[in-house]
């Protein structure tokens, strides 16, 4: 089969309209992982991209964050909300334009990839807050980007995804395993490749790579588990499901590693739905921004 000769690298290099992040956002990602960075350095980098700066300020002042006073400068936003929150605002604002496009290969309509990715980010952040093993904002970053590989993989699946899903069901395979059997890699590996090219934080890269198979990572990274649970919550709530639907495995050993019980999950679902809706209203403002 011709697909078997594909590699992640050759696939990515063959796609002309790959998702990209503005330089300012990439630089902010880099700086927030550097302990020497200050609110001023982050703000001055963001200020170089006027469109992005306006969106970040607008989101920072939205009802969701409930700030008692208006934040009028980027430096203020970084001081009040924290570097990583501002980084996430910049990431959401930067990725929104391409995440709302349809992803035909997975039968994802307009906005569905964004709904799903945003759901995973919200869920991962919530789980991180709940279990206290990981930084919630780091979990959000990783969750938001966990399915970016689907954008590049889409061309491989266009027109055949329903047959692949049917075959996966018939042979009792998860969809990511079906992708690996057909192409030699799955959308998580493609996502890892893209995230590396953006110099994403190492923990986020691991979470993108292992978000469907957290048990296969060699050294425990709690963010991977948070994103796995976030992905599960988002899928069962039906947010942005494509043709692959819920043809995935939920590795319940993640709950053990995060010191959570199955009984905790109902409560987490409860909070997840409320938080997702609150966040969604907040980020809907991006469309107007």
């Amino acid at each position: 089969m011709s697909e078997s000769r594909l590699t992640v690298e050759s696939l990515v290099s063959s796609i002309s309209d790959l998702p990209s992040l503005p330089q300012a956002a990439l630089r902010v990602i880099e700086l927030t992982d550097n302990s020497a960075s200050t609110a001023l350095t982050i703000a001055s980098v963001l200020a170089q991209d006027q469109a992005l700066a306006v969106k970040v300020l607008r989101l920072a002042n939205s009802a969701y964050y409930g700030l008692s006073r208006k934040v009028s400068t980027l430096q203020d936003a970084v001081v009040v909300l924290g570097m990583r929150t501002v980084r996430n605002l910049a990431l959401v604002a930067s990725s929104y334009p391409w995440m709302v496009k349809p992803v035909a290969g997975y039968d994802l309509g307009p906005k569905q990839l964004f709904c799903h990715s945003f759901g995973v980010a919200t869920g991962a952040q919530l789980v991180a807050r709940y279990c206290r093993f990981a930084n919630p904002d780091e979990a959000f970053t990783a969750g938001l980007m966990c399915d970016i590989g689907k954008i590049a993989m889409s061309s491989c699946l266009e027109g055949s995804v329903h047959r692949i899903v049917e075959a996966a069901q018939n042979f009792c395979l998860s969809f990511d395993l079906a992708e690996r059997q057909l192409f030699g890699f799955d959308h998580a590996e493609v996502g890892e490749y893209l995230a590396r090219s953006w110099n994403f934080p190492a923990q986020a890269i691991e979470a993108i790579r292992y978000h469907h198979a957290p048990q296969t990572i060699q050294k425990w990274n709690p963010i991977v588990d948070c994103v796995h649970v976030g992905d599960y919550l988002t899928s069962i709530m039906g947010f942005g499901l494509g043709a692959d639907g819920m043809q995935y495995i939920f590795d319940d050993s993640t709950l053990e590693r995060l010191s959570m019980k199955a009984e905790d999950l109902d409560q987490v679902v409860n909070e997840f739905v409320e938080q997702y809706e609150a966040y969604e209203r907040n980020f809907e403002e991006l469309q107007a921004a």
Partner: protein, 177 residues
């Protein structure tokens, strides 16, 4: 002109007397429950998220849980003239991931637990269930058009199918799974 569809969001219950179109978009493990009293021409739809309400329930969240949704749903229908003994029910949803790592997902299987809880609570209130379509790994969008009585399910993989017609004596549609 046909009435614009009423989107029934998570935890919501919507009811109407006369023609209405209710829809639940992208159900995963949630349940889209439709109830109809043919004589009163009163119908509604609920979007249930979880099987069981916590001990202390915020009354605005009654629609979220199977066991607190139904009493509230019936109350709203009765206010429009419905009588529980005449009410017909149809529901779908309750999907789940195809596998749990340990193979023992019963507590984690929120979709399966939702479907079981809805079945139990409908039985408890002695409501007639005309048809149901639960489980699987696919998201569903459901549209219930009260004027025709059709409860329609859309999935990406299998397209559209009519689960049942709640108006025509609550007949199950022949092609329904």
């Amino acid at each position: 002109m046909a009435a614009p569809p009423i989107s029934v969001g998570m935890s919501q219950i919507h009811v109407a007397k006369g023609p209405a179109v209710f829809q639940c978009l992208g159900l995963g493990s949630c349940i889209g429950l439709a109830l109809f009293d043919p004589r009163a021409d009163v119908a509604g739809m609920a979007h249930i998220v979880l099987p069981e309400a916590p001990e202390v329930l915020d009354p605005t969240q009654a629609g979220k849980y199977a066991n607190s949704c139904l009493p509230e749903f019936l109350k709203l229908l009765q206010a429009l003239g419905a009588e529980p003994r005449r009410i017909l029910a149809a529901y779908s949803g309750g999907a789940q991931v195809f596998k749990f790592g340990s193979g023992e997902g019963s507590k984690l299987d929120i979709g399966g637990r939702n479907a079981a809880a809805v079945e139990a609570v409908l039985a408890q209130h002695r409501l007639t269930v005309v048809a149901k379509d639960v489980g699987g790994t696919k998201g569903r969008t459901v549209v219930y058009t009260t004027e025709t009585g059709i409860y329609r399910i859309k999935t990406l993989a299998t397209g559209e199918k009519d689960l049942c017609n709640l108006r025509e004596g609550g007949s199950a549609c022949p092609k329904a799974a």
